[in-house]
Symmetry: C2
Subunit: 364 residues, 2 copies
Amino acid sequence: MGDMATDMAANMTTSTPALVVDIPTLDRNIAKMAGWAKDNAIALRPHVKTHKTVEIARRQVQAGATGITIATLGEAETFAEAGFRDLFVAYPLWAGADKASRLAALCERARLRVGVDSVEGAALLGRAVRRGKLEVLVEVDCGHHRSGVAPSEAAAVADAAAKAGLSVIGVFTFPGHSYAPGNAAQAARDEAEALERATSALELSGHAATVRSGGSTPSAYHSVGGLVTELRPGVYVFNDRQQVVLETCTADDVSLWALATVVSAPCDERFVVDSGSKVLAADRPDWLKGYGLLPELGGAGITQLTEHHAVVRGVSRGVLRLGDRVRVVPNHVCSAVNLADELVAIAGDGTLETWAVRARGKNS
Amino acid sequence: MGDMATDMAANMTTSTPALVVDIPTLDRNIAKMAGWAKDNAIALRPHVKTHKTVEIARRQVQAGATGITIATLGEAETFAEAGFRDLFVAYPLWAGADKASRLAALCERARLRVGVDSVEGAALLGRAVRRGKLEVLVEVDCGHHRSGVAPSEAAAVADAAAKAGLSVIGVFTFPGHSYAPGNAAQAARDEAEALERATSALELSGHAATVRSGGSTPSAYHSVGGLVTELRPGVYVFNDRQQVVLETCTADDVSLWALATVVSAPCDERFVVDSGSKVLAADRPDWLKGYGLLPELGGAGITQLTEHHAVVRGVSRGVLRLGDRVRVVPNHVCSAVNLADELVAIAGDGTLETWAVRARGKNS
């Protein structure tokens, strides 16, 4: 985000609040991660839950991504419909009666991989799809303590998957504990260790773990090539306030912001802009104060966020006036994009495009 | 939510995660607030930003609501299209070039009131619409410290509005500081005092403040009739975990929950259900720990919430199993509904209806 972006924000006639993407910065972010992955001989399979947007996923594939990662069956269906044919649902998909037939149909349309982290889940997946039609990766926990079994238990899950007629191709983990100041490098080491231990466990049980998949935006550039064969970062295409605070990027690397209008200035202490939590989302980890960054205002931030009001304090009256249009960088861009039906994308020459957030709302 | 709801949750074949509404509880909540308002001779103008759903707004009007409150011009357009003709945008609407013509068009289709809290905002509204076509209420701050001028400054805004050709009909405030344990009654007193002071200020300047509008769900039943002529609560139709913790209601009064599936149980310590922050929203005030309530599990809650994973701790293994379907009450229901395209509504006889969240995404 540079001076040109600032000027454009002020001059855009788009109705506020709206989410705006700066295409040159977006493309630079995409190229940087793709270049790093290539240089380190790691496959890049970006997580498209961040943007849910076909136009951006296409740019990632053109830049060298080997496939895409998605979070839900509904997202996978949306991207399959848009022509994507190599999909990894990096989630312990539970193929109950509500999803089994959709999963089977999707397997016939695309090369599909899904996550699995239980014997029971593996058995259900096996019953849902034709033998050999579905690839699975066993999810292991590397320190985030969410889903994923301990690496030592990965073999039992792989055994169950193979028995159920699924093709076991490897292991994956999400180093989500990279999302805290100073944790990124250690999280990447934890990731590599967990993937290595799980791989050994699988190989001892006769499975070939050719895919060892990890990655998050904060930890990606710390990934241990050789041990990790595939990365699945998502946020890096846009970046956000979390990434700036984590020092994964600078404010200049942020390619998406909310365009907002100052609608109220009731006293000298505060201004209200119209990008509330229904635009920015209310995500705020314990290590982060406030709800959004206003880059043009010396880093002033949002101190109070409700559904349609974002309160900015600490800005003197002459700097901000009623009716001014400002840019607001959300704390967590995935959640902000998930609230929008479309993104307004600005090309380098100032041309505007509208990109539908096509997989928004595909939560199941 | 009773035993019947528990049974239904387990037996529903709806794909998870999904938002489910129990219609009998919804109707009971609507009737209770309508009855209280009627008994206290206060007009009820519910805030439909909570549900954004035509079917629910119709039930509120049938139960006696005098009109509806909305937050954005886009929401107002959606409800006007659905036949609602008495709309109050309780927000300091900034009628810039992006909104002026839409505002003018809406004024011709419905009786429209909007909020105003600045001289500049009043002038812009006046330029956008035909003289006498738009009613305004001056917003005052009663302690939430968001938008709204101090009551003593309300007259200056009213003067500007009248000068701009707008019909000044009263004052409004949002007692949002009712959203903290033990604050509701005091917030209602603050509301009444601010509205009274602002009314006096307007009357001294020759304006008739016939509408004195306040209300939030926590403070509504503490409202001071006589001083307050109109209430705008929203959440009460569904209730949520915040309201249960604030003791505005009990868990039995909650009419909406996320239906979720246990998708991962990687160790004895934790279970993962599929209602992440893209379903529940990440809203969490400082006075509330965790991200959602599982009523069937002795009040166990979500301790860790990411986009597609909700981690439940403190439940023993026999109680919850992989594949179980559970109900999760979100912290803040307005934000959860804002993430869904539709609600699955269960009638008293078990019949299912699908209600579109028609105004979802109408943020501008």
